[in-house]
């Protein structure tokens, strides 16, 4: 009887019973036992394993997104990049030093002389406040960081946060696998990295995070119909409004999406709750930003959202009436009347509002987004910026790489499984892709959508393939176990022979997918390190021996201005350099990158394109003490003022018809050599750029005065300055500063 009970009690007991006869055997058994016990206690459940893997992948992606943006710090130094970030840095510095209220009421005398600029009311404060809060928190936690370090690392930090949002968004629209892939893709996508490397302290750095967060929260709100999520998305929208002018995209895309849902008959209570809450609360919150103010109710760009809001109410009302009326015919009639009335009232309201001037018409920037050719004809100041040009195919390829091919595949998967969420991502993807085609810089807005949709493609494909591979594996393993349990092999399943190449095909496809993804990773790293990590303040080139040559001329000139000019000196330069001069040179400028006053810029353009005596009069009337020009003729630096000069002429000529573009061209051709137009050879910009350049030999075997940026010998080598004198020229001649002489004594 004892023998019968034994197996019932399980392995443990039998082990202990057997331990008596042979000590050695017992020892081995015991150790086995211990092993199995410890393994069992360590072994995680599948759920936990999955969670662990997911969390660790997310952590790695988070760190990766941060690290890959640090190339610029390694290559150069921890510094602020480009143009606009310098203004943001300056304002952040002001905010941290003087406090929020001073910042809010800041009237800046150092820019737009003599007009000045109400900084507090003409900027999106989100970025500065974010950086200042991070700074204050770190200070509170006793980390003695410098505000510059905080500003430099803000963009990478928010890029990391964006990966998290991308994960949750992906999870919401597809599954957690797609979320993970989306997080990984967006972490290294060059289209996003270009605006979020360390040092690129610009609004876009936090705005993309805010944009994606708002979309995610809104989709979540639509999916759940929960007020809490809708409220959260309203706050996300508020953050976005405070951070970037691109919020207009949200306030137009979401109504469009709601409209599409209404048309496709996907109207639901969830949608009603989500949109109304998000719109009303979001609008009220957005009005707190001074720069935006009452635009939500007054500007034509925001009217779509309001229209859809009222449409929702009409829909709800109709729903209610339909619920009350059982007669369909009656309801049809009622429907017709109501819809006609609603549309009529809306149209009349819009017409009256526009006519009375209460609703402002669409701005030029908005038009130029819808119509790529608009800016070229009407607003030269927008068209003159290189990042506002229509996008070339190559830059799509450069910024998206394989995502460009995965995007349509992802769209296919989305259409195969249409839900409210996938409809949203499809619309986001398609509209932002259009805008990315209109303007180079809007590739940035398209990047999250492209990453998410591509992630769906990648995730769905790989999931299907691995399912195939795993199914085969199981069949084989179970087949073999069957083989051992019974000698009979005849009963092997039918599945084994069904598709002989399926498994191998799946493996090959999997390998191909991994190959593509690894190519993507190497491409992204390469692009980041080579193309997007240059601060553009410091230029670097390869010397003849392969050594690295640094051209630090900009900072040389700005620091010279800061140290060796009177503190109230006014500097005139083309608007590109305005922010940098005020931030690094700490001197007053006439115009800067906040191009709010076209006439003022045109005046500077006019001065630059006039003869010296005329320009002197203009400069006297503007109180100019120093003139700064950027010149690349010695180093071959091509984005200098001579190459930008035609835009100065165009913008100047747009306001002052005295300046005519054809005067500076010869047969429609822009030249600086002997064949150049006489007006060109004697205008202020030409003189200041090439002053005494004719005596300099720049390249061996070329005549003196050979311009390396344009590859010609200059046409006017004997330049005399009457009203200005050279005050400073940097070591590579990239920046030249001239002092305006005081007028001659009258006696």
């Amino acid at each position: 009887m004892v023998g019968k009970v034994e197996p019932v009690n399980g392995n443990v007991k039998s082990g202990s019973n057997q331990s008596t006869p042979a000590a050695t055997q017992a020892a081995t058994l015991k150790s086995d036992l211990l092993n199995s016990l410890s393994l069992k206690s360590l072994k995680l459940k599948t759920k936990q394993q999955e969670l662990l893997i997911r969390v660790s992948i997310l952590c790695l992606v988070y760190v990766l997104a941060f690290m890959t943006r640090l190339f610029s710090v390694l290559r150069y130094e921890s510094m602020i990049h480009e143009f606009d970030p310098y203004f943001n840095y300056r304002t952040t510095l002001f905010l941290t030093q003087k406090g929020f209220y001073e910042f809010w009421n800041w009237f800046d005398y150092e820019s737009w002389y003599p007009l000045g600029r109400i900084v507090g009311g003409t900027l999106y404060p989100g970025l500065m406040v974010t950086a200042a809060i991070i700074y204050w928190v770190l200070r509170f936690l006793r980390f003695a960081v410098h505000i510059r370090e905080v500003c430099v690392l803000t963009a990478p930090f928010f890029a990391s946060n964006t990966t998290l949002v991308a994960y949750f968004f992906g999870k919401e629209i597809w599954d957690s696998g797609a979320g993970l892939v989306a997080a990984a893709l967006i972490a290294i996508c060059p289209g996003y990295i270009s605006r979020s490397v360390a040092g690129s302290y610009d609004n876009e750095g936090v705005a993309i995070f805010a944009l994606l967060l708002t979309f995610y929260l809104f989709v979540k709100a639509v999916n759940t119909g929960s007020l809490a999520w809708a409220l959260a998305s309203a706050f996300g929208y508020f953050y976005m409004v405070s951070a970037w002018g691109g919020y207009v995209f949200i306030i137009n895309l979401i109504p469009l999406y709601v409209l599409v849902l209404l048309i496709t008959g996907r109207y639901s209570m969830r949608l009603y709750v989500a949109y109304n809450c998000m719109y009303v609360v979001g609008m009220l919150l957005a009005m707190q930003i001074r720069f935006v103010g009452f635009q939500h109710v007054q500007s034509g760009e925001h009217m779509a959202a309001m229209g859809v809001f009222f449409l929702m109410q009409v829909f709800y009302f109709l729903d209610w009436v339909k619920h009350l009326l059982s007669d369909t015919k009656l309801f049809q009639a009622f429907l017709r009347i109501t819809v006609t009335c609603a549309v009529g009232v809306g149209a009349i309201a819009l017409g009256v509002g526009t006519a009375s001037g209460y609703i402002s018409p669409w701005t030029g920037r908005f038009y130029s987004l819808l119509d790529p050719t608009y800016a070229k004809d009407h607003i030269p100041i927008i068209a003159s910026v290189s990042e506002h040009q229509p996008t070339a195919w190559s830059s799509f390829m450069f910024d998206f790489h394989i995502l460009l091919f995965l995007f349509p595949a992802g769209l296919y998967f989305c259409f195969k499984r249409l839900t409210d969420a996938t409809i949203f991502i499809v619309m986001y993807g398609l509209t932002s892709m259009y805008f990315a085609g209109v303007m180079v810089r809007l590739i940035l807005v398209a990047t999250p959508a492209v990453c998410l949709i591509s992630a769906i493609a990648v995730s769905a494909t790989i999931k299907n393939l691995t399912l195939l591979v795993r199914a085969k594996n199981k069949a084989v393993s179970s087949g073999s176990s069957r083989g051992t349990s019974s000698a009979k092999g005849s009963s092997k399943g039918l599945i084994d022979h069904s598709q002989p190449f399926q498994r191998n095909g799946a493996i090959v496809l999997l390998l191909g997918a991994f190959y593509l993804l690894s190519k993507y990773a190497t491409h992204c790293t390469w692009v980041t390190s080579e193309a997007y990590s240059s601060p553009s303040i410091v230029l670097s080139a390869r010397g003849a021996h392969g050594n690295r040559i640094i051209f630090d001329d900009y900072r040389e000139a700005y620091f010279w201005l800061r140290q060796n000019t009177p503190p109230d000196a006014k500097v005139m330069s083309w608007w590109d350099y305005g922010y940098q001069i005020t931030a690094m040179g700490n001197r007053t400028v006439i115009v800067d990158n906040n191009t709010w006053n076209n006439t003022h810029i045109a005046t500077v353009g006019r001065a630059m394109s006039s003869y010296e005596d005329e320009a002197f009069e203009i400069m006297r009337s503007l109180d100019v003490d120093y003139v700064l020009v950027v010149f690349g003729g010695v180093t071959g630096y091509s984005s200098d003022d001579i190459n930008k000069f035609l835009w100065m002429v165009r913008i100047g000529g747009g306001v002052f018809p005295v300046i005519k573009e054809p005067d500076y061209l010869v047969n429609g051709e822009y030249r600086v050599d002997k064949g150049a137009a006489p007006k060109m050879l004697n205008c202020l910009m030409y003189k200041l750029s090439y002053y005494r350049f004719g005596e300099l030999t720049t390249e061996y075997g070329k005549p003196p005065g050979y311009d390396r940026a344009r590859g010609v010998e200059i046409g006017n080598k004997d330049i005399k300055l009457e009203y200005l004198e050279e005050a400073f020229t940097t070591s590579n001649w990239i920046v030249r500063i001239y002092k305006v002489k005081p007028p001659n004594n009258r006696w």
């Binding site: 023998g3 019932v8 759920k47 069957r482 009963s491 010279w560 800061r562 140290q563 060796n564 005596e695």
Partner: protein
């Protein structure tokens, strides 16, 4: 302006010629050497003092006109022992400002106190080194880029002294042989770049005969208007030094155009007085050296190092012409053991006071020594008078702040590069405070995460979503239990199979039957439990989605059990009837096929449920 100054000096000279003789001291021989090779004027005077009176004299007075005294940066008197210029600090005398009575105005007196006193007829030879800053006046005050810089130096050919001087001579060393003009007197000789006045004999006290020398000097007139040196001690093994310079070229102001072309083509003719580089001599083993300013790193610098020193050559962003200014910071780390020592339970830092850059005049030097948090009993000892106070600095992870000893001194020249000491007490255990703070910070972060994960933070315990969440959790737990039970069933199936194999080996039918019985009873118990769980799932609304799968799983499992039992009993029967192996196989085959299919299905279902 210049002429009026000359006139002043002249009147002043006449006025003081009539003053009475102070004491019985006579200077039997005075030799002065003036070094004008740099912007810092160094006057070395060898003075032979003779006591002709009867009393013992314990102090020697040195007189300076106020105009000179205001430029005086450093004054030291040494005992001259023979010919060699041995300047051992031990033999230096104490020098201090005195205001003796009945002295002519506009003179400043310094008294050299002689510790032993000078008896009657005794002779003592003194070496007096006086160093002046801003004593060279650029003239003309503004020059263009092409012009050279000329400076003017004014002195007296006679040694200004309250005592009579028997024999004296003066030699002036200039940087170049190019001299624009100099005051000619009797006995004036010029040898290349050196001018000699004298010897003059039997000059009465307070005689002053002004001379002026106008000469070319293209030496860098680098003046640091303010230099803040911050020396931060970390007991983890390093001393971090940060120096903030605010530098100006104090020579002739530049006027007119600055032409880069000219400067590049002929830097020494066009821009001779400008300076483009400075060399800082840092202590040996300096590491992580940086050179930057407010707007970022400055890439033009070089660093060499050997075991005795580290040399840092820095180039400002632009060449510094007359009147141009620049600011920058350099920073470096040093090993702690080279500078921190212990004495009587106190620690002390021994560090050099002045600036490491050669020939720079510092108008205001502020040295801040940042001691570790928790230092006590702080005191500083500096070899010359300085202003002293304490501050507090907050750095990483500081709670009460680090005590800072601040020393301020104006008019500093390289002669002030002497060591000073800061004494303090510090408990080594305080070093561990900051790491512990970090560790505990992370600890509390994780603990709060754990607490958050385990705490139920929902506001309304009766809300629908909360209840449904609870139910869902219950359902999940039940499904987990179902899985567990089925996972327990599967080994029992295996055991049955094993018993069949045993049977085929040993032929022990009874054991096999017993195995079946026990398995049967176990399975029955388990299926009872299963029934309860499934019943619960059926009652729960939340489980409606998953219920069919679970039910299917349970059904398949049941079927599998039955099939196994049937197979088992068939095989055992066959053995009892002693049937042949082939026959058994034939009879079992259909069951076997079904069993494997069922097993597969159960596996699939388990996996599916697992993925929820």
């Amino acid at each position: 302006m210049k002429t009026s100054m000359w006139l002043d000096l002249f009147l002043f000279t006449i006025a003081i010629l009539w003053e009475p003789v102070l004491s019985d001291l006579v200077l039997s021989k005075v030799e002065r050497r003036i070094d004008l090779t740099s912007q810092i004027v160094r006057i070395t005077s060898t003075i032979k003092v003779e006591n002709t009176g009867s009393d013992v004299v314990s102090e020697v007075l040195l007189a300076f006109p106020d105009s000179q005294a205001s430029h005086l940066a450093y004054l030291a008197a040494f005992l001259n022992e023979g010919k060699g210029k041995v300047k051992v600090p031990a033999s230096s005398f104490h020098v201090e400002v005195v205001h003796p009575k009945d002295m002519p105005p506009s003179l400043t007196f310094y008294s050299v106190s002689l510790p032993k006193g000078l008896g009657k007829g005794e002779i003592l030879t003194l070496d007096v080194l006086s160093v002046y800053t801003h004593a060279l006046q650029p003239f003309p005050e503004k020059i263009t880029q092409a012009e050279i810089q000329l400076v003017l130096f004014q002195e007296s050919a006679h040694f200004l002294s309250p005592y009579a001087v028997k024999v004296q001579s003066l030699s002036i060393k200039l940087p170049h042989a190019r001299i624009e003009s100099y005051t000619r007197m009797e006995n004036t000789k010029i040898h290349g770049s050196e001018i000699k006045y004298g010897p003059y004999e039997n000059v009465p006290p307070y005689s002053y005969s002004p001379i002026a020398i106008h000469f070319e000097s293209n030496q860098p007139f680098a003046v640091a208007q303010e230099l803040v040196r911050e020396i931060e001690i970390s007991h983890w093994g390093n001393v971090q030094v940060t120096e903030h310079y605010s530098l100006v070229h104090d020579g002739a102001q530049s006027k007119g155009e600055f032409s880069r072309l000219d400067y590049q083509a002929r830097p020494y003719a066009r821009g001779a007085s400008a300076f483009r580089r400075l060399v800082a001599k840092l202590p040996p083993r300096a590491y992580s050296v940086y050179y930057r300013d407010e707007i970022g790193n400055i890439s033009t610098s070089n660093l060499w190092g050997d075991t005795k020193k580290t040399e840092l050559e820095i180039e400002p962003r632009y060449p510094i012409f007359g009147g141009w200014r620049t600011t920058f910071s350099i920073g470096y780390g040093l090993p702690l053991r080279d500078f921190l020592f212990q004495l009587d339970g106190k620690r002390f830092l021994n560090f050099s006071f002045g600036c490491p850059i050669n020939e720079v005049v510092i108008d205001t030097l502020i040295v801040k020594v940042v001691l570790p948090e928790g230092s006590k009993d702080i005191s500083a000892s500096v070899p010359f008078p300085v202003k002293q106070w304490q501050e507090t600095k907050f750095s990483h992870l500081d709670v009460v702040g680090r005590p800072v000893v601040v020393l301020e001194k104006t008019n500093v020249v390289p002669e002030h590069n002497q060591h000073f000491q800061v004494y303090y007490k510090f408990n080594s255990l305080s070093m561990l405070m900051e790491p512990l703070m970090l560790i505990s910070g992370f600890f509390f972060l994780f603990v709060s995460c754990i607490v958050y994960m385990h705490a139920d933070l929902s506001i309304s315990k009766s809300s629908a979503s909360y209840l449904s969440k609870l139910q869902w959790e219950e359902v999940l737990a039940t499904i987990q239990q179902v899985q567990n039970i089925i996972n327990r069933c599967l080994p029992i199936h295996d055991k049955l199979e094993a018993s069949l194999r045993d049977l085929s080996r040993t032929g022990d039918v009874q054991a096999c039957k017993a195995a079946r019985k026990s398995a049967d009873s176990l399975l029955k118990e388990l299926s009872k439990e299963l029934k309860l769980l499934v019943a619960f799932l059926q009652s729960s609304l939340q489980a409606s989605q998953i219920l069919p799968k679970v039910e299917e799983l349970v059904a398949r499992e049941r079927e599998l059990q039955e099939r196994l039992m049937v197979k088992h009993s068939t095989v055992v029967d066959c053995y009892e009837k002693k049937s042949g192996g082939r026959e058994i196989e034939n009879r079992v085959a259909s069951h076997q096929q079904k069993i494997t299919a069922l097993k597969l299905e159960v596996d699939d279902l388990l996996e599916f449920i697992d993925e929820i």
